[in-house]
C-alpha cells in the first residue's frame, strides 16, 4: 500500500477562533427574566397561544417520526453507527495509551467495536426517551403552571428555579408522561420490522418506568435505590432480549463476535436501561464526572477555550509526527471551528502531552458518547450493575444540578439531546412587538441540525457549509407553505488550521453520480457501500480496505474519508486536463494623473516588495507588470538585463504584446529586476499629465499575456476608463442619489467586461479589481470583469494616501492579505445533492459551466457562494439528505487537490419542524443574494418589496400554523425571531436603502459584496455587533493564549443604548468604530486612548496606544480577539460627536428611525399590518 495520510497545516493558519457555543444561547436567555417576570399583562394572553395542544401534538408526531426513522436508518446500516462510535472509542483509548501503542490495543478496540454498535442503538433509545421527557416536561409545566412562554426547558430553571420541581410531581404531569411514552413508542413497533424485539422492548421500558420517574424526582434516596434496583433488574432482563436484536443488527458490520464480548455485551445492555429509565440518564451519566468541577455558568467558555489551546499545541506537535497519528483523524474539531461539543470530542484524541488537561476539561461538556464511555469501560468489569448505578444516580440529581449552571447543563445536554432542546427552543413563540431583547448575549450561533449525535459530530462545520433550513421539508409543497427560501451558503476554500489530506491512488467515488465517499454513506457489508446521494450500491476497492491510520485491514469504515466530512484529496493525473499550471500573477496598474495624485502606487509597490517572498507559489512562480494611461506600458524583466525595460504600446485599438516571452518572468530568477522595478515605479510617473485611462486595451493585453498559462490578473483602477475598447461614460446623476423612486444603472453599460471575463475564465485567468476612485467610475460595468472570472472586487471610495488615512490603511491591510492568502488555480466546484433536490440558481463570483458545476479560474479563501435549491421529487423515502461540494483546484505548489465538504440534514414532514430548523442568518444571506439579482434584473423597489414580503409571508405562514395565536400579536418562532430585524438591517444597508444619499458605486459595491462574501462576513456587514467597552470586566471572560478576553454583551443597534457616559465599539466586519460619549469617564480616555480628556482626542485616530492600565489591556485584548476571528484585519476608527465620520457610525444603528426608513418597532407594526391584511 502506497498510501500515506498526512495532515496539512495550512499556510495561512487561521488563529483558533473561539466560536461561541450554541449552548450559550440559553444563557442569553438568562438575561430575559426581567422580561418574563413582568406580571400578568402580556402573559395572560400568552397561554392561549402557547399551550396550544395542537402545536404540541404536531411536535410529538413529528418527533417520533424523526426519532424512529433515524434508528431505522441505523438499523439498516449498522456499520456507520459503529464506526462513528469507534472513533470515539479508539480516541478514548488513545487518550490513555500513547499513539505508538495503538496497535497493541487493537484487540481492545475490536471488542469495543462490536459493543459499540449496541451502545449506539442504546443511545438512540435514550434519545428518544429523552425526547419524550422533553416534550412532556414542556407540556406538563404548561399544564400545571400556565407558564408557556418559558416552555423552553432551559430557561425555566433560570427564570424560576423553584417552579420546576413543583410542576413535576403533579398528577397532571404524571399522566402526560404516560401518554407521551405510549404515543411515542407504539408507532415504533410498526416501523422496526427487523428489530421488533428491540422496539417492543422500547415500548415496554417506558411503561414500567413511568411509575418510577416521578418518584425519582421528588423523593429522596430510598426512592432512588428502589428505582435503581428496578432499573437493574429491568436492564438485566432486557439484556437477553437485546442480545438477539443486536446480533441481528450486527450481521453487517462486525462479524467478529468474540467470546470475550459476551461480558461486555451484558454490561452494555445495562445502558439502554439507564438510558430509558430516567429519561435524562444518558445526559446525567455524561455529567457524572463533573460535580466536582461544575464550573460557574458564565465561566464555561473559558473552559472551552483551554482545550483548544492545548489542542493547538498538540496539533502542532502531532503534525510533525508520523502520518498515522490518530489526532489527525477528526478534522471537524481540529479545524478549530465548530461547537464546543466537537471541540471536546477532539480534545480526546489529542495524544500524550495534553491529555490530562483536555480530558479533564472535556468532561464537563457531557458529550454524548465520550461521556458514556466511562460507563462502558466499567462495563468490562465483571459487575454489570456498576455502570447502571453510575448512570442512574446522577440522573436523579439531574434537576438539582441544573440550577448550578445553566451553561453547563445545556452544554451537557447539547451533546446528547440538543436536537430536542433545539427544536422547542427554535419553535418557542416570541412576541416580537413585546420582546425587546431578542439579541443573544454573544454572536448568534448556527443552529445544529436535528440529527443523532454521531452524525452531528461528523457533520460539516457550519462555518464552511450552511443550509437555510436545517430541517429539510419533505416536499416542495411543504417548502412553499413555509415561505422560506431553501439554499446553501458555502465557504468552501476557507482557511483551516487542520485538514486531513489524503494521498491515495484511487479516490473512492460512486460509480453513477461520482459522489466522493463520505461519512454519511452506508456500508452494506465489508465490500460494498451505498451512495447516500443516488443510493447506488458500489464496491469498496481493495485498496480502501486497508486503513493506514490503524494499519489494519478490513475496516473501510474507519478510513479518514469516512471519518471526516471535510477532507482534501491529492488528485491523480485523471483529474487534470493539462499539467498543473504554475502560479502566475500579473499586475495591471493605472498610472494616469489621477492615479498618481491618489498615491496608491507607493502602497502597492511597498506591499509587493514586502510580500514578494510570501506570494504563494513554487519555483515556477511567474510575475509580470503592465501599466497604462492613454497608452499601455509593458516591462521587460528578462533575466540578464541590467535594469527593467519599459516598452510602450500606443496603438490601443489593436493591442499587441511587444515581447511575449519576457513580460511574465520567473519570480526567483528575476527577483532583483522586479525589486528594482517596484522601487522605481512610484516615482516614474510623478509628472505625468496624462488624464486618460485605457483600461480596456490594457486588459486585452493582459488577457493575451495570461492566456497560455492562466493565473491571476490584479487590476488597479482609479477612474472611469475613457479610451479604447470598453470605455464608459458617467451614468450617475448625483441628484438622484437619495431618490426614493427608481435607482438606475445597476447593470453593466457594456458587455465588453463580461466578454473579457468569460474569455479569461475560459483560459483559467481570474481578474481581481481594486477600484480606488474618488469619483463615479461605473463599478456596475467594471465589476463584470471579476464577477464572471471568479475574481474579487475591492473598492476604496475617495481613496487618498494622505487625506484619507483610514482608507489608505485599509487598502494596505487588504493588500497584504490579498497577496499572501492561499490561492487555488484552474478550479471547478461541483455541488451534488441527494436525489430529489436540485440546484436552480447560484450566487457568487464564477462562471456556471453546467447545472451543478461552477468554473472558478481562481479560488480564494475569502470567497463565499450561495445556492438556491428546489425539491423536485418528494423526499418521503429518505430521512436524511446530503449535500456535497467538491472543489478541484491546483494549489500554488502545483498539486492538483480536491477539497470535499459533506453536509447531512434530516428531512421533516411538518411545517413546525421546518420552522424550528430555520437558520435565520443563512436565510437572510440567501435573501440578500436573491434581492441583489432582483434589483439588477427588475428594480430596487421590487427587491425591497420582496424582502419585506419574505418576512411577512413566512411569519404569516407560521402564525397560521399555530392557529390559536392571537392575530393581534406579531409572533415569530424563536428560530426566526431575528428575521424582521435582519431584514430591516438589509433594507437599511447601502445596497438596498432608498431615501438616504447613496453613491451608485457604493451601492453596487455593497451588492457585489453580498454576492461574494461568506456568511460570517456578510452578517457583520448587515448587522454589525455593538459592544460597550468602557466598563469591561473580567467576569465571563474567556482565555485565549494566556490572555484574558472580556466578553461584553451584544447591544442593540439603537441610539438608546449609546449613553454619553460610555464608549462603544461597533464591529462592522471590515471597520471597527469606537464611539466615545461626551461625558465618558476621563480615566477611560486617558488609559485607553492616551489623551487627557474628551476634547483632546483627535478626529482622525486609528490606533489605540499600548498602555499598561488594566482597562487598556482589556480593551486591546478584546479588539485583537475580534480581529483574530477574521482574515481581513479591520481598520479602527475613533468617533466623536464632532467627527464627520459619525454619520457612518450612526447609519449602522439600524433599529432607529431615519428620515427615510422605519425604526425597528415601526417595521414590526408594518409587518403586522401586512399580515392582517
Amino acid at each position: 500500500m502506497s498510501e500515506t495520510f498526512k495532515k496539512q497545516v495550512n499556510k495561512s493558519a487561521e488563529v483558533p477562533r473561539p466560536v461561541r457555543s450554541p449552548m450559550q444561547f440559553p444563557a442569553g436567555y438568562g438575561l430575559h427574566p426581567p422580561n418574563y417576570s413582568v406580571p400578568s399583562g402580556h402573559y395572560s394572553q400568552v397561554p392561549n397561544k402557547a399551550v396550544s395542544p395542537h402545536l404540541d401534538n404536531q411536535y410529538r408526531a413529528s418527533y417520533h417520526s424523526t426519532y424512529y426513522s433515524a434508528p431505522a436508518q441505523n438499523v439498516m446500516t449498522p456499520p456507520v453507527g459503529t464506526n462513528m462510535l469507534n472513533t470515539q472509542e479508539s480516541q478514548q483509548l488513545y487518550n490513555k495509551t500513547s499513539p505508538q501503542t495503538a496497535e497493541s490495543t487493537e484487540g481492545l478496540i475490536r471488542g469495543a467495536v462490536s459493543s459499540a454498535s449496541y451502545l449506539h442503538t442504546s443511545a438512540q433509545q435514550s434519545y428518544s426517551a429523552f425526547g419524550n421527557h422533553y416534550s412532556t416536561s414542556v407540556s406538563s409545566s404548561v399544564a400545571s403552571q400556565g407558564f408557556p412562554l418559558n416552555s423552553d426547558h432551559y430557561t425555566m430553571p433560570v427564570v424560576s428555579s423553584a417552579m420546576y420541581p413543583v410542576s413535576y410531581p403533579s398528577a397532571a404531569s404524571d399522566s402526560v408522561y404516560g401518554q407521551a411514552y405510549i404515543s411515542q413508542s407504539l408507532p415504533g413497533v410498526g416501523q422496526f420490522k427487523q428489530t421488533s424485539a428491540f422496539s417492543s422492548q422500547s415500548t415496554a421500558v417506558p411503561h414500567s418506568l413511568q411509575q418510577h420517574v416521578p418518584v425519582g424526582y421528588n423523593s429522596t434516596l430510598p426512592a432512588i435505590s428502589s428505582a435503581q434496583s428496578v432499573q437493574d433488574s429491568l436492564s438485566r432482563n432486557l439484556s437477553g432480549l437485546l442480545a438477539k436484536t443486536n446480533n441481528q443488527i450486527n450481521t453487517g458490520g462486525i462479524d467478529s463476535l468474540q467470546p470475550a464480548q459476551s461480558v461486555s455485551q451484558k454490561a452494555q445492555y445495562t445502558k439502554p436501561g439507564v438510558g430509558t429509565s430516567v429519561s435524562s440518564a444518558a445526559v446525567s451519566s455524561g455529567r457524572t464526572p463533573t460535580p466536582g468541577l461544575s464550573p460557574e455558568p458564565r465561566s464555561t467558555p473559558s473552559v472551552t477555550q483551554s482545550p483548544e489551546s492545548a489542542l493547538q499545541k498538540a496539533i502542532d506537535s502531532s503534525s510533525t509526527t508520523s502520518s498515522a497519528s490518530p489526532v489527525l483523524n477528526n478534522y471537524d474539531a481540529l479545524e478549530g471551528g465548530g461547537y464546543p461539543e466537537t471541540r471536546s470530542v477532539t480534545s480526546s484524541p489529542v495524544p500524550a502531552p495534553s491529555v490530562p488537561q483536555t480530558s479533564k476539561t472535556s468532561k464537563p461538556f457531557g458529550y454524548g458518547y465520550p461521556a458514556l464511555q466511562p460507563g462502558y469501560q466499567n462495563a468490562t468489569s465483571p459487575d454489570p450493575v456498576q455502570p447502571s448505578n453510575s448512570g442512574h444516580h446522577p440522573g436523579l440529581q439531574h434537576y438539582p444540578q441544573q440550577y448550578t449552571g445553566v451553561n453547563q447543563l445545556s452544554s451537557s445536554l447539547g451533546g446528547l439531546s440538543l436536537q430536542h432542546s433545539q427544536q422547542p427552543e427554535g419553535l418557542r413563540p416570541v412576541n416580537l412587538t413585546q420582546d425587546r431583547n431578542i439579541l443573544p448575549v454573544s454572536s448568534v450561533p448556527a443552529p445544529v441540525p436535528n440529527l443523532n449525535s454521531d452524525l452531528r459530530k461528523l457533520n460539516c462545520s457550519p462555518d464552511s457549509f450552511r443550509c437555510t433550513l436545517t430541517n429539510i421539508p419533505q416536499t416542495q409543497a411543504l417548502l412553499n407553505k413555509a415561505k422560506l427560501p431553501l439554499g446553501l451558503l458555502l465557504h468552501p476554500f476557507r482557511d483551516l488550521t487542520q485538514l486531513p489530506v489524503i494521498t491515495s491512488s484511487t479516490i473512492v467515488r460512486c460509480r453513477s453520480c461520482r459522489t466522493y465517499i463520505n461519512p454519511f454513506v452506508s456500508f452494506i457489508d465489508q465490500r460494498r457501500w451505498k451512495c447516500n446521494l443516488c443510493y447506488r450500491v458500489n464496491d469498496v476497492p481493495e485498496e480502501f480496505m486497508y486503513n493506514p491510520l490503524t494499519r489494519s485491514y478490513g475496516e473501510p469504515h474507519k478510513r479518514p474519508e469516512v471519518q471526516n466530512s471535510t477532507v482534501e484529496f491529492i488528485a491523480s493525473s485523471d483529474y487534470m486536463l493539462r499539467p498543473p499550471q504554475p502560479a502566475v500573477y500579473l499586475f495591471v496598474l493605472d498610472v494616469s494623473h489621477n492615479a498618481v495624485e491618489a498615491g496608491y502606487l507607493t502602497i502597492v509597490c511597498q506591499s509587493l516588495l514586502e510580500n514578494l517572498d510570501k506570494l504563494p507559489g513554487d519555483s515556477r512562480t511567474r510575475i509580470g507588470f503592465i501599466t497604462f494611461d492613454s497608452t499601455v506600458q509593458f516591462y521587460n524583466l528578462q533575466e540578464g538585463l541590467s535594469q527593467p525595460q519599459m516598452l510602450i504600446v500606443s496603438d490601443i485599438d489593436d493591442i499587441f504584446l511587444p515581447t511575449p516571452d519576457s513580460l511574465l518572468v520567473n519570480l526567483h530568477e528575476s527577483k532583483e529586476l522586479i525589486k528594482d522595478l517596484l522601487s522605481a515605479l512610484p516615482n516614474m510617473f510623478t509628472n505625468t499629465r496624462e488624464t486618460y485611462s485605457a483600461l480596456g486595451p490594457a486588459l486585452q493585453a493582459a488577457f493575451k499575456l495570461m492566456s497560455p498559462t492562466g493565473g491571476r490578473i490584479s487590476v488597479f483602477q482609479t477612474q472611469l476608463p475613457s479610451l479604447g475598447a470598453g470605455l464608459l461614460h458617467s451614468r450617475e446623476d448625483p441628484n438622484q442619489r437619495s431618490s426614493t423612486k427608481v435607482v438606475q444603472h445597476l447593470g453593466p453599460a457594456t458587455d465588453f467586461y463580461k466578454k473579457l471575463a468569460l474569455d479569461c475564465s475560459g483560459q483559467q485567468t481570474a481578474v481581481d479589481l481594486f477600484l480606488l476612485s474618488s469619483q463615479y467610475s461605473d463599478l456596475a460595468s467594471l465589476a463584470c470583469m471579476s464577477k464572471y472570472s471568479a475574481g474579487c472586487i475591492y473598492y476604496y471610495p475617495s481613496f487618498h494616501h494622505s487625506h484619507n488615512p483610514a482608507q489608505a490603511e485599509k487598502f494596505q491591510k487588504d493588500l497584504k492579505r490579498y497577496l499572501t492568502r492561499k490561492i487555488g488555480f484552474e478550479a471547478v466546484m461541483r455541488i451534488r445533492c441527494t436525489k430529489g433536490l436540485s440546484i436552480h440558481t447560484f450566487h457568487g463570483n464564477f462562471f456556471v459551466r453546467s447545472t451543478d458545476l461552477l468554473s472558478l479560474a481562481n479560488v480564494n479563501p475569502d470567497a463565499g457562494f450561495a445556492v438556491q435549491m428546489s425539491i423536485e421529487e418528494s423526499l418521503t423515502d429518505t430521512s436524511l439528505v446530503c449535500f456535497q461540494t467538491a472543489l478541484l483546484y491546483t494549489s500554488s505548489k502545483g498539486e492538483r487537490r480536491i477539497r470535499v465538504h459533506t453536509l447531512c440534514l434530516p428531512v421533516v414532514n411538518s411545517l413546525a419542524d421546518v420552522y424550528a430548523g430555520a437558520d435565520v442568518q443563512a436565510v437572510v444571506c440567501l435573501l440578500a443574494n436573491m434581492a441583489v439579482d432582483r434589483s439588477v434584473s427588475s428594480s430596487l423597489a421590487d427587491a425591497r418589496d420582496a424582502l419585506v414580503n419574505a418576512v411577512v409571508d413566512s411569519l404569516a405562514a407560521y402564525m397560521s400554523t399555530a392557529s390559536n395565536l392571537q392575530q393581534s400579536m406579531l409572533v415569530a418562532p424563536n428560530s426566526l425571531r431575528l428575521f424582521p430585524l435582519y431584514v430591516l438591517a438589509l433594507l437599511k444597508q447601502k445596497a438596498f436603502r432608498t431615501g438616504t444619499s447613496t453613491r451608485l458605486d457604493d451601492r453596487v459595491y455593497a451588492m457585489c459584496q453580498m454576492k461574494s462574501q461568506p456568511l460570517v462576513h456578510l452578517m457583520k456587514m448587515i448587522h454589525p455587533n455593538l459592544y460597550r467597552i468602557d466598563k469591561l470586566i473580567d467576569e465571563s471572560a474567556i482565555h485565549v493564549n494566556d490572555k484574558v478576553v472580556p466578553q461584553p454583551p451584544l447591544q442593540k443597534l439603537s441610539a438608546e443604548k449609546l449613553t454619553r457616559e460610555g464608549a462603544f465599539l461597533m464591529d462592522c466586519g471590515s471597520v471597527f468604530y469606537i464611539w466615545i460619549g461626551k461625558n465618558c469617564d476621563n480615566n477611560f480616555i486617558k488609559d485607553v486612548l492616551g489623551y487627557p480628556n474628551y476634547a483632546s482626542v483627535p478626529l482622525k485616530m486609528t490606533q489605540l496606544p499600548e498602555a499598561d492600565a488594566l482597562s487598556s489591556e482589556r480593551t486591546r485584548s478584546f479588539i485583537s480577539w475580534l480581529k483574530d476571528s477574521r482574515p481581513l484585519s479591520p481598520v479602527l476608527q475613533v468617533i466623536k460627536d464632532e467627527n464627520p465620520a459619525k454619520t457612518d457610525f450612526f447609519q449602522h444603528l439600524i433599529e432607529d428611525r431615519t428620515e427615510a426608513a422605519f425604526s425597528y418597532y415601526e417595521f414590526l407594526l408594518h409587518i403586522q399590518q401586512q399580515i392582517c391584511k
Binding site: 447593470g747 453593466p748 453599460a749 457594456t750 458587455d751 463580461k754 468569460l758 475560459g762 464577477k787 464572471y788 436540485s838 440546484i839 436552480h840 440558481t841 447560484f842 462562471f847 456556471v848 459551466r849 453546467s850 447545472t851 458545476l853 428546489s870
Partner: protein, 144 residues
C-alpha cells in the same frame, strides 16, 4: 384556379417555415446538450446566437407578407409571436450582440428550462403553422 399573391406568400412561407422548424430543433438539441453537460455555455451561445436573428427576421417577413396579402387571420395568428420576438429583442442583456442567451445566466436552471420550453413551444407553433400554410396555399389556389 389562379396564382395570386396570397398563394405565393403561402408557398414562400411554407418553405421558410421548414427552415424555422429546423432552427427550433437546433435550439432544442443545443439546450439539451447544455443540460446534459456535453457543452460549455460559452460554446453554446455562439451557434445559437447565429440563428436567433435569422429566425426573428424570417418571422417578421411572414408578418409583412401576410399584411400585404391581406390575409388577416394568418396575420392575427402570427402577431403574438411577433410581439414576443420584439420583446425578447429589446430585453436582451446590454449589447444586442448577445441575443437572449446570456452565457453566464443560461445555466441558471430556471433560465435553462425556460429556454427549453420556449424552443419546444416554438417548434410546435411552427409545425402547426406549416400545415396551416399548406392548407391555406391549396385553399387559395383552388378557390380563386
Amino acid at each position: 384556379m389562379a396564382f395570386t399573391f396570397a398563394a405565393f406568400c403561402y408557398m414562400l412561407s411554407l418553405v421558410l417555415c421548414a427552415a424555422l422548424i429546423f432552427f427550433a430543433i437546433w435550439h432544442i438539441i443545443a439546450f439539451d446538450e447544455l443540460r446534459t453537460d456535453f457543452k460549455s455555455p460559452i460554446d453554446q451561445s455562439n451557434p445559437v446566437h447565429a440563428l436567433v436573428l435569422p429566425e426573428y427576421s424570417i418571422h417578421s417577413l411572414f408578418c409583412i407578407m401576410f399584411l400585404c396579402a391581406q390575409e388577416w387571420l394568418t396575420l392575427g395568428l402570427n402577431v403574438p409571436l411577433l410581439f414576443y420576438h420584439f420583446w425578447r429583442y429589446f430585453h436582451c442583456p446590454a449589447d444586442s450582440s448577445e441575443l437572449a442567451y446570456d452565457p453566464p445566466a443560461v445555466m441558471n436552471a430556471d433560465t435553462l428550462s425556460y429556454c427549453q420550453k420556449e424552443a419546444w413551444c416554438k417548434l410546435a407553433f411552427y409545425l402547426l403553422s406549416f400545415f396551416y400554410y399548406l392548407y391555406c396555399m391549396i385553399y387559395t389556389l383552388v378557390s380563386s
